[in-house]
């Protein structure tokens, strides 16, 4: 794989292994970390290892059929941070939460996370607890439903002009 720095860097994986006992996610991707220690991980990554730029927060909805946990819809959220300057690396980890539960916000650590978390709440419907201003980012306020949920209508036939 010639593209460097796109997979979680060794430093980040080493930190995860020895301090945060990550579980490997069955659908692949970065290691899974317990929700309780999620903010602590982000703080250590930022302060000790220098991952200062907020990369991304991706929430994906796994309906009961696909997720293994006893038939309850799961939401897996992948986070990413990046270091600054030469040989910039990427740190990434995942957090899993049942539908309806809340995830502690990173907006106090990274102001950049503020809007990305609002977008995930807007599109996937995962609530970030402690977020200063959790409103919908893009859809109008009175929009009901979260479009990127798997149960959201997907095959609406595009009205042909013909």
């Amino acid at each position: 794989m010639t593209i460097l720095g796109q997979v979680p860097s060794e430093r980040c994986q080493a930190l995860l292994r020895d301090r945060f006992e990550p579980r490997d996610c069955d659908t692949g991707g970065p290691p899974l970390v317990a929700v309780a220690r999620h903010v602590e991980l982000a703080t250590t990554l930022r302060d000790e290892l220098g991952y200062r730029i907020f990369g991304f927060v991706v929430a994906a909805h796994y309906p009961a059929s696909k997720s293994q946990e006893d038939g309850v819809d799961q939401i897996r959220i992948a986070y990413g941070l990046r270091t600054v300057g030469p040989s910039s690396e990427l740190a990434a980890w995942q957090v899993q939460v049942a539908l309806g539960e809340t995830v502690p916000t990173l907006a106090h650590l990274f102001a950049g996370a503020d809007w990305q978390e609002r977008e995930q709440y807007d599109l996937v419907g995962v609530r970030f607890e402690g977020h200063p201003d959790l409103r919908r980012l893009m859809l109008p306020e009175d929009w009901e439903g979260h479009p990127l949920r798997k149960d959201y209508a997907i095959d609406t036939q595009v009205p042909p002009w013909r």
């Binding site: 595009v158 042909p160 002009w161 013909r162």
Partner: protein, 174 residues
């Protein structure tokens, strides 16, 4: 007062441009020359024997990201070779929603659909922008064909192993 002193250089630049040739042209009368690979509207073509190339296999209908192509299949005698062959009974391409991504040209097994280098002619109603089979074949006669056909694109995208020469029009600078 220093604001006006070095504004003179800006004035000089704009005056210098007064004596340069303007780059805009009066569009309807003067047309900008298009490059050979420019892709605009569509045309269906006949193969070497003069028979309709399209076999109605719906490959383009499936690949189209904005689902604007619909093809109906029919089997009938070919007027030239006399054998029973598959044809497209109806072929509509909705230029309203087409994003000109050239994927249909790439996936066509028989080089039937090609793009032309004449920019889209505006119409007065949405229905006129819905190109049906007759219009597409008429485009083949009237408009200048663009460079790309399925085989040329395929020849250009061959991986290292098989650097095969393209069937159909010879690639000018392979």
């Amino acid at each position: 007062m220093l604001y006006f002193v070095d504004s003179i250089r800006a004035l000089a630049t704009s005056m210098r441009n007064v004596f340069r040739r303007p780059t805009t042209v009066q569009f309807p009368d003067v047309q900008r020359p298009r490059t050979e690979r420019f892709r605009a509207s569509f045309a269906l073509v006949h193969d070497e024997q003069g028979d309709e190339a399209c076999v109605g296999c719906k490959a383009c209908e499936r690949i189209c990201p904005s689902q604007v192509i619909t093809v109906d299949l029919e089997k009938k005698e070919s007027p030239i070779t006399g054998k029973k062959r598959a044809y497209a009974k109806a072929f509509t391409l909705d230029a309203n929603a087409c994003i000109y991504c050239e994927l249909c040209v790439q996936v066509c097994p028989t080089d039937a659909i090609v793009m032309t280098t004449s920019a889209a002619q505006p119409q007065f109603s949405r229905q006129d922008l819905c190109l049906d089979m007759a219009r597409l074949y008429e485009n083949e006669r009237t408009l200048k064909r663009s460079w790309a056909t399925a085989s040329i694109l395929a020849a250009m995208q061959q991986p290292a192993a098989q650097q095969v020469s393209p069937k159909g029009k010879d690639e000018p600078d392979a």
